[in-house]
Each structure stands twice: as C-alpha cells, then as structure tokens.
Amino acid sequence: MSDTQEINTPSFAMVRTLGMVSVICGIIIVGVYQFTLPAVNANKKLALERQVFKVLPNARKVVPYFATTGGIAVAEDTDKAPAGSVVFYAVYDAADKLAGIAAEASSSGYADQVRILYAYDVAKQAITGIGVISMRETPGIGDKILTDKAFLQNFEALDVHLSADLQGLANAVKTVKHGTKTNPWQIDAIAGATVTSKAVGRGINESAQNLLPKLVPHLDKLRNPS
C-alpha cells in the first residue's frame, strides 16, 4: 500500500473493516463458547466431585445447596445463588444417608487466595478433612498444607460446634504457633509456613461462622430431602 493510498482510505472503509472483523470474531467466540459449554460444565462438576470424594471418602452423591438466613434450598446453578447466601454441598453415601457437608473456604495466603474445601461432620459437629481447590503458595513451603501429616491431623476432628444461641461458633477456629495447640478448635501451624496455615484457619473460621448458623437448624431437611 503506497502513501497516497493510505491518505485516501475513506473513514467508512475503516469502520466497515473493523465492523467486519468484529462480526467474524464475535461469531467465532460465541460458537466456540456454545460448543464447549457442556464439556466445561461437566468438567467443573467432575472436579468438584473429585474434591468432595477426597474429603469425604464414602461419598456417592453430591447435591449443591445454598443457605440464607431464611433457610436452605437446592441450588440448580451454584453460580446463580442469591446474593448473601452461602453455597454448600450435601454429600450422601451409598445407602443415601447424609454422609456430611462439604463447603468452600478461602482466605488470602502468601501468594494468592488459598481456596480449600472442608468436610463437616454433622454428628461430631467437627471438620473432618480438608482439600485444596486452588492455591499458588510457594512450592515446598506453603503447599505443605496438603502433605504435612502433622498439619493434616488438625483436621481429623477440628471442633466447630455452635454456641448455645446458634448465632456463631462456640469457639472461633484459630491457627496457633507450631507446637502450642491445646484445644480441639485450634490449628497447629506448620513451622515455616505460618502464613499459609493461618490462611487455612482464617478461611475455615469465616466460612463456618457464616454457614453453620444458617445450616444447622435445617439439617433435618438434608437428612430427608424428599
């Protein structure tokens, strides 16, 4: 294209070209989005179930719910849960009995948000397992929250029972310095990975304080869903 041609390019031609490019690109994007949507959703569901099965090994079925101050309801689409509600997953075993509750907790760690999934045991009123959904903590240091056996022992039965008025936890979950855990609601931090350990504790505390008061009064609905 020579210089004279450049100067003579009419504005209409430029607008038309950009419009044409946008239309082509728009069609491609929408087409691919529609085409991949079922696979993406199936993948998300599978990934969630895999996480849930990790924290609740005898799980067979996972039903998403959301809890508000008014009660709980099955969530058809967890992305469209009403504002202010908390999403959780009711997990059933092979005999269709309630095996536990799984919910997400997140808090900022050393590098980025640490997102974990924890299992809540209804009978014990305790957290019985955690799994990581996503984190970008330093490899070899922060990511020990997944592998450190002593740390994971904290979550064999982390006490989260509610206070008598059902407004919050009787004892806030707290991460304490390595080797100073004395109560079942405390988390013994990993030495050298305190920031990540604290993020786990803070995330669980926030999520449990928010979810359990809304959930516990309605547990019967989960036990007999029909």
Binding site: M1, A13, T17, V21, I24, C25, V40, K44, R136
Partner: protein, 211 residues
C-alpha cells in the same frame, strides 16, 4: 510444505529464528509456566494454535484491512483465538487450566503473535503465512519444552509426572520458583549460542579448506 520454500518458512521459526532462543520473545510465559514439561507443551501448543489461526485470518483479510486500523484488527483477531483456546482448555482439563492460570489469557499480549501478524502474515498469502506461524509456534513449544523438562527433573524429580529418582531425591525447590526459570533459560541460551558459534566456525573452516 510441498515446495522447498514453504518448508524453509516452517524451519525458520523452529530453529533459525527460534522465538525463545534466537529472538528472545515471549519471555513472560517462558519463565512463568515452564515448571513442568506438560505445562510447557500445553502452553506451547495453545500459542501455536493461536498463531496459526490468527495468521491465517490476518493473511486472508490482508487486502481488506486498511493500514490505519491494522493493529486494532490484528489484536481483535488474536484475542478471539485466545478466547477460543481458553474455552477449549477449560473443556479439556480444568487441572491444566488452573496450572496455566492467567497465562492463557496473556497469550494475547505475547509479542510473537502481533510480530508474526504484522511482519509476515500481513504481507504473505495464507499458505506461507500459516506455515511460518506454525513453525514459529512449534519453535516456541520446543523452547518451552526444553526449559520445562530441566525444571521439572531438577525441581520435582519427575518428568511428565513420573518420578525418576527414589525417595532419597531432594528436589531443588529453586528450580520451580521464578529464579529457576531464569537459570534454566540462561543455561539454554548459552548452550545454543555456543553450539551455533562452533558450527559457524567449523563451516568457515571447511569452506576455507576447500579452494
């Protein structure tokens, strides 16, 4: 690739003008996602796909796009195919999607792409443009793969997720941290530059020996 010239176009990016080792472009994903061989290959192939398709479209539209709005058009085209790859990877594997993170979306800002569209695809017919772009993409993939292998072997004691050493192996954690990316990239740049240097010297000697 039927004619020798288009094969040359293809080899250009793979070796002679390798985007990582010769042109030193696209350093952001090069350093960020090469903690494992699988991540490196996936990132490379995603970039190759975006390169190939966007250069094809740019080349097809090269007569229709006025010079004044070319950058805007190229960026829209590149962004489209990056979005396509983004959805495709989500559909293939969420684990991979998590591992590559923001770097898939950042392909759009990879200077190899706009560079290819502007310097090559906008001036050439679809076949050579696409061939050249795919060659560049595979050259990029090769570069990422070489870095990813070294970092995964040393940083995790694994290759493609398979443990190579016994339990006594103590991983070099630094290799999976950002500095490790610089170390390994530097190592490969030196190795390849040295190889080229000796090759050139030998060729010169051979030519000198022959009257």
């Amino acid at each position: 690739m039927s004619t020798p010239s288009s094969f040359d176009e293809f080899l250009d990016g793979l070796w002679k003008q390798n985007p990582i080792f010769v042109m030193v472009l696209g350093m952001c994903p090069t350093l960020a996602v090469t903690v494992s061989a699988v991540n490196a290959i996936s990132m490379g192939l995603a970039t190759t796909f975006v390169l190939g398709t966007s250069c094809l479209l740019v080349s097809l539209l090269r007569h229709a796009i006025p010079k004044q709005v070319r950058i805007a058009s190229y960026i829209v085209i590149i962004a489209t195919f990056v979005t396509v790859v983004d959805y495709a990877i989500q559909a293939i594997s969420l684990d991979l999607y998590e591992a590559l993170g923001a770097y898939i979306k950042l392909i759009v800002a990879n200077c190899i792409l706009l560079g290819r569209a502007e310097a090559h695809a906008a001036k050439n017919p679809p076949l050579p443009a696409t061939t050249n772009a795919i060659g560049m993409g595979l050259g990029f993939t090769l570069g990422l793969f070489l870095i990813g292998c070294v970092r995964e072997i040393l940083g995790a004691g694994k290759l493609f997720g398979v443990a190579l050493f016994g339990d006594h192996f103590q991983p070099w954690v630094v290799m999976v941290l950002p500095p490790g990316g610089f170390f390994v990239l530097g190592f490969w740049l030196i190795t390849i530059a040295a190889f080229r240097h000796f090759n050139k010297k030998r060729n010169a000697q051979l030519q000198g020996a022959q009257p």
